[in-house]
C-alpha cells in the first residue's frame, strides 16, 4: 500500500480536519431534539424556517442527530442511484424535466390569481419609484438602484433557476439565533428584504423564508449613539449582498462570470468600505462586518472573493457568537 508522505497536502488537510472535528468546542444546539421524521421533513424542505434552523443546529452539533441525518441522506442517495441505474438516459432526462415542469406549473397554478396582482403592483411600484425625484437619495442608494436595474434589464434568469444558492439559508445548516431581535442585524436583513419584490416570483420554499425577513429594522435603543447611521449602512450592505448572491448563484449555474457585472462591483465595495471605516462600531457584529469588508483578498477583484464575502456576511448575521 502506498502511504502518504508527510508533505502530501491531502494528508495534511485530512489530519488537520480530523483534529479540528475531534477537538473543537461545539456550541450546544437549541430547541427540541428532532426525531427521524423531523429530520426527514427538514431534508425535504417541509419545515417552517424557525424549526428548520433548530433541526439544522441539532444535525450539525449532536452526534446522534447527525447519524440519523446521514442514514436518511444515504437512503436518498441509494434511491437516486437505483433510479439512475434503471431508466435509460433519455427517459431519465425527460423525468427530471417533467418534474421541474410540474413544480413550475404547480407554483404558477397556486399563485396564478395572486401573480397578476403582484406583477401589476410591482410594475406600479417601479413606475412610481422611477418618477420620484432621486436627488434626495443617498448616492450609494442611487448606485444600488442602478445596479439592480441593470441586473433586471440584462434579462437574468428568474429566481426559480438559481434558488439553490439561498437554499442554505432556508433549509440549511446555519444557526439562526433570532437575528431579528438585534437592531443592527435586523437592518441588514431588512436590506435583503427590501429588494426581494423587485426580482419576480420566488420559489415557495425560498419565498417562505424571505417573507419572514424583517421589512424594517428594529428601533434603536434610546441610549445608542449613531445607531441609525449604522442601521442605514447595514441596510445598504444587505441590499448589495442580495445582488451579489444572485450573481454568484448565476455564475454557479452557468459556469460563466459576467465581466460587465463584476466590473461594476468594486466601486460599490470601495464606497461601502469607506463608509464602514468611518462608522463608530460598538458591537461585535458591526466590527466583524467592518473587518470582513476590509479583507485583503477583496483587493484581487476576483468574483470568487466577492462570493466568499457575501457568504461571510450572511454567516456573521446568523452567527450566535457575534451577539452582544
Amino acid at each position: 500500500m502506498i502511504r502518504p508522505k508527510p508533505t502530501d497536502p491531502a494528508a495534511l488537510e485530512r489530519v488537520q480536519a480530523l483534529l479540528a472535528l475531534a477537538l473543537e468546542r461545539v456550541p450546544p444546539p437549541y430547541g427540541e431534539p428532532p426525531d427521524l421524521a423531523a429530520i426527514a421533513a427538514w431534508v425535504e424542505g417541509e419545515l417552517p424556517p424557525a424549526r428548520a434552523a433548530e433541526v439544522a443546529a441539532f444535525v450539525a452539533r449532536d452526534p446522534d442527530c447527525y447519524r440519523l441525518w446521514l442514514d436518511y441522506a444515504d437512503a436518498r442517495a441509494l434511491l437516486d442511484t437505483e433510479s439512475a441505474g434503471t431508466a435509460p438516459p433519455l427517459l431519465r432526462r425527460l423525468t427530471v424535466w417533467r418534474g421541474r415542469l410540474n413544480a413550475w406549473w404547480q407554483t404558477m397554478g397556486n399563485r396564478g390569481s395572486q401573480l397578476s396582482g403582484i406583477l401589476a403592483a410591482t410594475a406600479i411600484l417601479l413606475l412610481l419609484v422611477s418618477f420620484v425625484p432621486s436627488w434626495f437619495q443617498d448616492p450609494l442608494d442611487r448606485t444600488l438602484d442602478r445596479a439592480y436595474r441593470a441586473w433586471i434589464a440584462a434579462g437574468q434568469p428568474p429566481p426559480q433557476q438559481w434558488s439553490s444558492r439561498l437554499a442554505g439559508v432556508t433549509r440549511g445548516t446555519r444557526a439562526i439565533q433570532d437575528p431579528g431581535t438585534d437592531p443592527e442585524r435586523s437592518a441588514f436583513l431588512a436590506g435583503l428584504a427590501n429588494r426581494v419584490p423587485e426580482l419576480g416570483t420566488w420559489p415557495p420554499r425560498i419565498g417562505a423564508h424571505l417573507h419572514e425577513l424583517p421589512t424594517a429594522p428594529l428601533p434603536c435603543p434610546a441610549n445608542e449613539k449613531d445607531c441609525h447611521q449604522r442601521q442605514q449602512r447595514l441596510r445598504q450592505l444587505g441590499e448589495w449582498i442580495l445582488l451579489l448572491s444572485l450573481a454568484c448563484a448565476d455564475a454557479e449555474r452557468t459556469g460563466e462570470w459576467r465581466t460587465d457585472f463584476w466590473a461594476h462591483q468594486h466601486p460599490l465595495l470601495r464606497d461601502l468600505r469607506h463608509r464602514f471605516e468611518a462608522l463608530a462600531c460598538h458591537s461585535h457584529y458591526c466590527t466583524a462586518i467592518r473587518e470582513a469588508l476590509a479583507a485583503d483578498d477583496l483587493a484581487t477583484l476576483s468574483p470568487i472573493a466577492y462570493c466568499d464575502l457575501s457568504e461571510t456576511l450572511l454567516d456573521h448575521t446568523y452567527r450566535s457568537d457575534l451577539s452582544d
Binding site: A20, A75, T173, E252, E311, R319
Partner: protein
C-alpha cells in the same frame, strides 16, 4: 389497498437485501431471516399507525435501523471508544466488525469496499484504493490501540436495552461546555489514542513500528498547543457537516454537495474556507505543521 403492501414487491425486497447483505456479511444464511424480520417489523408499525412518514427514503432508513437492531440482538453490541467515535462512522463500523464480530481484517476490507461501491455512485466515493487505504488505516490503528479487540474474551458486550444515547462505561463528553480543559472535550486516554491514530495515518508501516523510547502519552508535549487550538478553531455548522462528510465519511465533494443540497462549487468554497480557518487556528496555536509534530510526538 394500503400503501404498505408495496413492501412485499420485488423492488422493495431488493432494496432491503442491499441493506442487509453488508450487515450480515459474516453469516450470509442470516440475510433471509433478517429481511423477513425487518419487513414484518415495519409492517407491524405501519398497521399500528406508528409511522410518521411514508416516503421511500424514510422507510428505507427505518428498515436499516431495524436490521441493525436485529444484528445487535443476535451478536451483541459494544459501543466503540470515544476516540473511535470521533473519527466517524467508517471507523465505528470497522471497530464493530473487528472487535465484536471478530472478523478477519482482510475480509473486512474487501466487504466494506464492496458495500461502499454498491451504496454510492461511482463518482461519489473516493477511489477504491483510497477507500481501502482508509479502512486499512482504521484496522491498523484499532488493532494497535485496542489490544484485546480480537481476543475471544473481549470486554462484556452491552445489551440493546443499554444501547440508548450513551454508554455508562464511556460517558460521552457534554457538548457545549466552554472550558479550558481539553480533557473535558476528550479524555486524555482518548486524546492519546486519537493522536497516535493520526500519527499512524501519515507514517509508513516501517516508520510506524512501536518505539520503546516514545512517550506513553503523545499528548504530553502538545497539550498546551492543542488546548489553544481547541479554543481558536471555530467552525460553522455548515463547515462542520461538510468536513465530516468529506474526511470522516470519505465522500467526494460532489457527493457531499448532494447530501447537503447545495451546488458543488459552493461546497468547494466552503471547504476551502473551513480548511483555511483550521490552518489559521493551528498557526495561532503554534502547531503549523501537525504532521511533523505528530510524527515527532
Amino acid at each position: 389497498m394500503e400503501w404498505y403492501w408495496n413492501l412485499e414487491t420485488p423492488a422493495w425486497e431488493a432494496r432491503i437485501r442491499r441493506l442487509a447483505e453488508p450487515i450480515f456479511a459474516a453469516e450470509p444464511a442470516v440475510v433471509e431471516l433478517a429481511i423477513e424480520h425487518a419487513r414484518q417489523r415495519l409492517l407491524e408499525q405501519a398497521r399500528a399507525g406508528a409511522l410518521a412518514r411514508h416516503n421511500d427514503a424514510y422507510l428505507l432508513t427505518l428498515l436499516k435501523h431495524i436490521l441493525i437492531d436485529y444484528s445487535k440482538a443476535r451478536y451483541g453490541y459494544r459501543r466503540p471508544p470515544v476516540w473511535v467515535q470521533r473519527l466517524g462512522r467508517i471507523w465505528e463500523a470497522v471497530y464493530h466488525l473487528l472487535c465484536v464480530l471478530k472478523r478477519a481484517p482482510e475480509e473486512i476490507t474487501v466487504d466494506m469496499v464492496k458495500a461502499r461501491q454498491q451504496r454510492l455512485a461511482p463518482a461519489d466515493a473516493e477511489t477504491e484504493a483510497d477507500t481501502a487505504a482508509l479502512i486499512q488505516d482504521a484496522i491498523r490503528a484499532i488493532l494497535r490501540q485496542e489490544r484485546d479487540c480480537q481476543q475471544p474474551k473481549a470486554p462484556a458486550l452491552i445489551s440493546l436495552e443499554t444501547d440508548t444515547r450513551g454508554d455508562a462505561a464511556t460517558p460521552r463528553p457534554e457538548i457545549g461546555q466552554p472550558t479550558s480543559e481539553i480533557e473535558q472535550v476528550l479524555a486524555r486516554e482518548d486524546l492519546d489514542h486519537l493522536l497516535e491514530t493520526l500519527r499512524l495515518s501519515v507514517l509508513s508501516d516501517e516508520e510506524a513500528e512501536p518505539d520503546a523510547s516514545a512517550p506513553q502519552s503523545p499528548s504530553v508535549h502538545m497539550l498546551a498547543n492543542l488546548e489553544a487550538f481547541a479554543t481558536w478553531v471555530r467552525l460553522t455548522d455548515q463547515e462542520r457537516l461538510l468536513l465530516r462528510l468529506i474526511y470522516q465519511e470519505g465522500l467526494s465533494t460532489r457527493a457531499a454537495a448532494r447530501h447537503l443540497g447545495q451546488p458543488e462549487r459552493q461546497v468547494q468554497r466552503h471547504k476551502r474556507r473551513a480548511l483555511r480557518k483550521i490552518a489559521e487556528a493551528l498557526t495561532r496555536a503554534g502547531l503549523e505543521d501537525p504532521l511533523t509534530d505528530l510524527a515527532l510526538a
